[in-house]
Symmetry: C3
């Protein structure tokens, strides 16, 4: 079975960058099966990308190679790493991108990609996705042993990820990502909410906005209503039914969210 | 030949949702050939999605499996259906999404997807694309018999689709979709226009804007000119040459369009 | 090995157009391997598309078939061409789209696509991507000899591409493309800059904005700083670290850029 290589970037689809990476991969392994995972990630937003990677890549088969390029530090001292996490292979800058994945399942192997023989002949200072990560992924898909890439590492650079706090009759968290519907995804997990009442006695507050109760799905409330629910990633999320909550409430990543009862 | 599975969603490419669906499909059938059909559909706009599905999927080979997820009612009583239409297989929420297709060719089989054995082990209340539709499509691609999915249905939920009216020397329709160029696509068909003069004696009006004549292609008029023509879907369309008509005219879906002569 | 067909369009992913092209290709050659190169190109912007094609397609393996549809003149006298350039096959409107590629490597073969037998049975006046270019590409992928498509041509329609000018202690160029990060890509090449000092004695000016020095990568300057560097395409580029330069400076394609020392 030809290997699957997924691409996750903040490149958008209006520039040559995604195409160049695909070309490099297919020039090295014409049989590679490239899958677009997400290309419209908010530019340089490592936390958002880490969330997307954690929520999407875990559904792929073992041995899938996931390449992620959200890389504001391209060309600086930051390393590019190979990591094996939960049976899948990752190639990414070591800037926290893999942090949500590694928090769930510690990597079984980490290698710093330092071997220039596995890169394109000329490595630019501004596009390591094309010049390093794409050729590395393509060669892994052909069976390259990861240890050839460079020296082992013990740890990945950690991701700055705010953890929600559970207090008495109160959980304090924040918005960690805004999804493509404008829904506000928080760092408050279903586990934290296990003992919390779901009826009108619970108040969910986000900035100066609040809503009562924690519901099951969006259509549980009428249109234009702020609703709290546990979304498909197992995280508390705030939505306005039929609208973009982020725009209507002018709420962004980092906004404080409290659940109290 | 490995089966083709197309994906049509309003998820955008900035969230984990498209990636998660692809991962689920490839975990069940690693040989499935996934094709991205459209992911930037206007959120929750069933009519627009129904138009896109009808205009794009008819060009695919027989036996293609088309999965469509525009699903504002996720987690409610709305059903998920399998339908066989014109030799192709569809998996979608039963909310009108397949209405334009079914209006052209009545489905030869409709099955309500109720069998939880074909879904992911845990079905969330907010993401049936990942938890039900993706695994169903993947298993169909492996040869699953559709009748295993659940009970037969006679009819799909109809799509609210406004029909244009032909009067004496006058056709009354409306804008049913805005395409990615900002062109205004109406529900007035080439057939309705068969007897209509195409010269300056015909007036096409949209809201308070009007233009004379029905042309063949965009470049038949100078830049910045409002033009009416029959577009590639066989529907009357209004465009501003070289610009976005929807933005310049502030015209949206539902705007009234009349052709008079 | 099944042939790769890439698609580059300004269709976006909210309309049926990309899907229709994929369906046509797969109906003719179900084994074709379709790769999305870029679909969010700025509408009708031939120069931007020519830049993207030149920077992305050169990384693909020989014999890749590249289809490009940025086609404001669809349905007019402009020709659709097949061109063989640097070992790869291109199908595009003959409107300058292939101009950057042809400037680098003259085409070894150009054929005007006039044979209606290789098109869909009904060719619309507004969507030649679906009705002509997709079926031509699919048939090429099955081994069709390009000369069957129509008569040979000697030349492609040239692209209007402004060339930068090297004067004494001064290079005058302009912004030729804005990438998906809002970075301003100019027509000033690394070769032109070969003898230019890279330190603070060099002034790079764009409209009324200026910056000192030419750097290696984005992170060489602090956030919110205007920086000049040679980007991954070998062209001088202006960026604001961590921000969208095009938006912050209100600079667009065509803005004058000078390097003086």
């Amino acid at each position: 079975m030809d290997r699957i290589i997924t691409l996750t970037t903040d490149f958008g689809m209006s520039s040559p960058y995604v195409g160049a990476m695909k070309g490099v991969i297919l020039s090295i392994n014409p049989r590679a099966r490239i899958v677009d995972l997400a290309h419209d990630l908010p530019p340089h937003n490592i936390r958002h990308a880490a969330f997307v990677l954690a929520e999407a890549t875990r559904f792929f088969p073992a041995r899938t190679i996931h390449v992620a390029v959200v890389d504001p530090g391209v060309g600086t001292a930051r390393t590019i790493v190979y990591a094996r996490i939960d049976g899948r292979d990752y190639v990414a800058p070591d800037n926290g991108l893999l942090g949500r994945l590694a928090a769930r399942t510690p990597p079984s192997k980490i290698v710093a990609v330092t071997n220039r023989q596995v890169c394109l002949p000329r490595v630019s200072a501004t596009f390591h996705g094309r010049d390093i990560m794409a050729p590395v992924a393509a060669q892994l898909s052909l069976g390259l042993v990861p240890d050839v890439l460079g020296p082992r590492r013990e740890h990945l650079v950690p991701l700055e990820w705010p953890e929600a706090r559970t207090l008495t009759n109160r959980i304090e968290g924040e918005v960690v990502a805004v999804d493509s519907f404008g829904n506000l995804i928080t760092n408050i997990t279903a586990e934290m909410l296990a003992g919390v009442p779901v009826d009108d006695s619970v108040v969910v507050q986000c900035d100066e906005h609040e809503t009562l109760g924690i519901f099951t799905t969006y259509a549980d409330q009428p249109e234009m209503t702020l609703i709290a629910l546990v979304g498909s990633s197992g995280l508390l999320e705030l939505a306005i039914v039929g609208e973009r909550a982020s725009a209507m409430l002018a709420v962004h990543e980092g906004a404080k969210v409290t659940v109290s009862w």
